[in-house]
Subunit: 220 residues, 2 copies
């Protein structure tokens, strides 16, 4: 049950940096936006995910600002992404960590919604589990996300292999791409639109027999 919009997950980040409560809150909110809110195992949002940032101030009395605060924010972003990625990577039975990049969207929310729809598609997740470079499942999931875009301007690569360009499938060696998916635990899906400049990176796990066993056999 992982699709945190802050729900069963408990995350605690500690720092000795001095931060005012307001700055700590806004720094964490910004970091969470592109990390914990960009992951999904099966999209079933829980009711009690939490990420806390505790700042002791032991490193110095003066609250961070300017360049130092920017450096802190950057480190916090990186840390949250690292922690967030571990969740789908360690997803129930997961055999692939799938990174979905949406580029060229009109807004970041558009990009996130397309990414989430692809990430939560059981057909996309089972295709990756089976090493199937199934561009149709990915492109059609983007299509039903409810975000308008020009279908004739869509490019798709999987693990760097172009599968779909300007709205049409391209010739590719399915065996080579399939072998690349099977050989790597990490799968990269990059979908590029021509609607704007907004982008997002989203992480999910594949869906395989072990996930079903885990969740069908587990009784409350």
């Amino acid at each position: 049950m992982i699709g945190p919009q802050m729900a069963t997950m408990l995350g605690v980040v500690v720092t000795d940096a001095a931060l005012t409560p307001e700055v700590a809150q806004s720094a964490l909110k910004a970091a969470v936006e592109d990390s914990f809110n960009c992951i999904s195992v099966e999209g079933h949002m829980s009711t009690n995910d939490t990420v806390l940032l505790l700042a002791s101030g032991a490193a110095g009395k003066q609250p961070l600002e300017g360049k130092n605060l920017a450096a802190f924010q950057s480190a916090l972003n990186e840390l949250c992404i690292e922690l967030a990625k571990q969740i789908p990577d360690d997803g129930e039975g997961a055999s692939h960590l799938i990174t979905i990049d949406i580029r060229g969207a009109r807004t970041k929310d558009d990009a996130r919604w397309i990414a989430r729809t692809i990430a939560d598609s059981a057909l996309v997740k089972t295709a990756i589990a089976g090493g199937d470079p199934n561009w149709g499942r990915i492109v059609s999931a983007a299509g039903y996300a409810g975000v308008p875009f020009d279908p004739a301007s869509v490019d798709l690569t999987v693990n760097g292999f172009p599968l779909y360009e300007k709205g049409a499938p391209v010739a590719f060696d399915a065996q080579t791409v399939s072998a690349a998916i099977k050989a790597n635990r990490e799968t990269s899906v990059v979908l590029t639109l021509r609607e704007g400049t907004a982008a997002i990176r989203f992480w999910t796990s594949d869906l395989n027999v072990e996930y079903v066993r885990f969740n069908a056999d587990y009784t409350t």
Copy 2:
């Protein structure tokens, strides 16, 4: 890949009734609303589902109206529900046909959205596959559907057994309910809100190991 909003499914209904094109279209639209648009296997909408109604008029030259048209509409509704139900019942690897009734919603769209969210939850579907009367997964899926309702006024029954009443779990014999889920191919989930009088019935299949095998091993 079944979550038709009219997408890969092809349905053809034929009748010898006389119908004007306008009446045939509106009768079919009404019937589809509560049948083909109330099913989902995994929520991945396809791009070419179609339902056609062909009326030859061989039964009589006069287009149906009044009581006769009402009788035709009622038969058409029943037929479309029967056909639509067969899709999740025959879903890839499905071992349960799950009927989800949402009652007491503010609007029919609210009810449909809650039903669809429950139907598309991999955690709900795996629980039913495993015979797990997991009220928490069902209620939490309703909660994240994005439709506001008072959580303290929710009742839930599974196969007629009350599991949750007025927002809290009730004591039930988990073994009895589990045995009932396992013994029946059809599972009934009834979620009652206290927001209004709108209701919907929605059908889906469970999610088991066979679904994953089918979709992971199938290559385009």
